[in-house]
Amino acid sequence: MTREEILNELKSVFAPYTTNKEMLANINDQTDLITDLKINSANLVDIIIDAEAKYNIEIDYDSADKMINVGSCIDVISEKLNQK
């Protein structure tokens, strides 16, 4: 999967956790989950669980800690997909 494909799919993963729909439509690698998308930090756990289910991957604690913006989310998901 290309980075762009994952980025587009992430929009649906983030959607239930943000009310900032305009920002969500225009996310890029630098978009921060908490400061830009206003996602409650507690919900980052749910995003990781949803991403694990969507891509059938396992995201360990260290990788999860890196997932603070869209770019790092794509990095972690690509890495895990390549390990499959």
Partner: protein, 424 residues
């Protein structure tokens, strides 16, 4: 002399009506909310009927942000949010605020957190899938889940408490809110309670053989308080909320005033002298009612209506005897008495708040709702009070003073006195 406390808003999710207009219409017309539940028959319960609100889950989208709505599964929480936010809107307040309402608190009760939500936790943990639980489970399995959602949505900044005293929970929540305002600790309190009788909670009562099992094929006839053919209670689900305010505070903002809370009391019979885990000590009940009357400073002769606990068990007769002793009134001199449970079943923790909303609707609209299914009043009850005191059809009548009580497992009691608001 404490502050005067008035009711300025109400919301209700009842098996026989969601929202004040629907609930009022059902009360006036004696409409039952008891329905057949096929699952209970399938699970080989003895009782196959329950009071179930006709609740549409998606209606919650009108109350919560999309983010809050996503992942919410607790039915008890859904009922509570709906009742509480409806009451808030009914009091003329808007939902959005940047600054917390420091002068407004919340006492909202329930008997147990949603056991379907707890079942999900048990299954995932036992299945070694704890990592899949996510962040939204604790808020729905903690007992204070409902109050947390309500106070968060409305920005309530005074004390926020989840109370629990079994079937006296709702009555006690109102009493606690009243006491906080009366003593000057808050200007306004959102009070109430909710209950979702899911399969597991239903099963625990079914197993005690305290539920009615003789009217499974006639759900609307199954809840029969004070009747000779009553054979146990029918569990019901729902929630109700009231907005209580300091009178001066309410007048200053030009709020519409529904009624005044004149007084109340709560106690326990100590599980002595006939009181047990499941049965009230009559001396405790009588003392509770008498204390409530004393706190309201009224003459029991002025009580127009008693809204009883009256669940449709063997305990109904003893309850009537206790009311009679506490009020010093019997025979034809006894006030009118009714039980909302004849229409909605016993909503356990939610009973006190839903039934209190019914009391206030009767005060406002000048009527006494019928006791349905009372074709055969218990002759033992008629030895204490006259049959004319137990209406079986709606009575149009000016009602000025209502006594409301509920009694719960653990031998706990709570009693409230509601009156028409009079300027003085």
């Amino acid at each position: 002399m404490g502050k005067r406390v008035v009711v300025t808003g109400m919301g209700v999710v009842s098996p026989n009506g969601i929202g004040l207009p629907a609930f009022l219409d059902s009360l006036k017309n004696g409409r039952s909310g008891i329905r057949f539940v096929p699952l209970y028959e399938e699970l080989q319960m003895s009782c196959h009927v329950a009071g179930v609100p006709e609740f549409e889950w998606d209606s919650l989208k009108n109350y919560l942000s999309e983010v809050s709505f996503h992942g919410l599964k607790g039915t008890n929480i859904a009922y509570g949010i709906t009742a509480a936010l409806d009451a808030w809107a009914d009091s003329g307040m808007s939902f959005d605020t940047d600054e917390p309402h420091w002068d407004t608190g919340c006492v909202f009760g329930n008997s147990a957190p949603d056991s379907d939500a707890t079942k999900n936790v048990i299954n995932k943990v036992d299945n070694k899938e704890v990592k899949k639980l996510g962040s939204r489970i604790v808020e729905q399995t903690m007992n204070s889940g409902v109050t947390s959602f309500i106070s968060g949505r409305l920005g309530l900044g005074n004390r926020v408490v989840t109370n629990s005293t079994a079937c006296a929970t709702g009555t006690q929540a109102i009493l606690m809110g009243y006491e906080y305002i009366q003593s000057g600790l808050a200007k306004r309190m959102l009070v109430g309670s909710g209950e979702h009788i899911d399969t597991y909670i239903f099963g625990t009562f079914d197993s005690m053989r305290v539920l009615s099992r003789k009217f499974n094929d006639q759900p609307e006839r199954a809840s029969r308080p004070m009747s000779a053919s009553s054979g146990g209670f029918i569990p019901g689900s729902g929630a109700a909320a009231l907005i209580l305010e300091d009178l001066d505070f309410a007048l200053a903002r030009g709020a519409r005033i529904y009624a005044e809370v004149l007084g109340g009391a709560a106690n326990s019979g100590g599980q002595r002298n006939g009181g047990t885990m499941t049965a009230p000590n009559p001396a405790g009940v009588i003392r509770c009612i008498s204390d409530a009357i004393a706190s309201a400073g009224i003459d029991p002769a002025d009580i127009d209506l008693v809204s009883g606990h009256l669940t449709a068990t063997m305990a109904d007769r003893q309850e009537i005897q206790s009311w009679s002793n506490a009020l010093g009134r019997s025979g034809k001199d006894f006030p009118l008495i009714n039980s909302v449970k004849s229409m909605i079943g016993h909503c356990l923790s939610a009973a006190g708040s839903i039934e209190s909303v019914a009391c206030i609707l009767q005060l406002i609209h000048g009527f006494v709702h019928p006791n349905i299914n009372l074709e055969d009043p218990n002759p033992e009850i008629l030895k204490i009070i006259d049959e004319g005191c137990i209406p079986t059809s709606m009575i149009k009548k000016d009602i000025n003073l209502v006594a409301k009580a509920n009694f719960g497992f653990g031998d706990v009691n709570a009693c409230l006195l509601f009156a028409k608001y009079l300027k003085e």
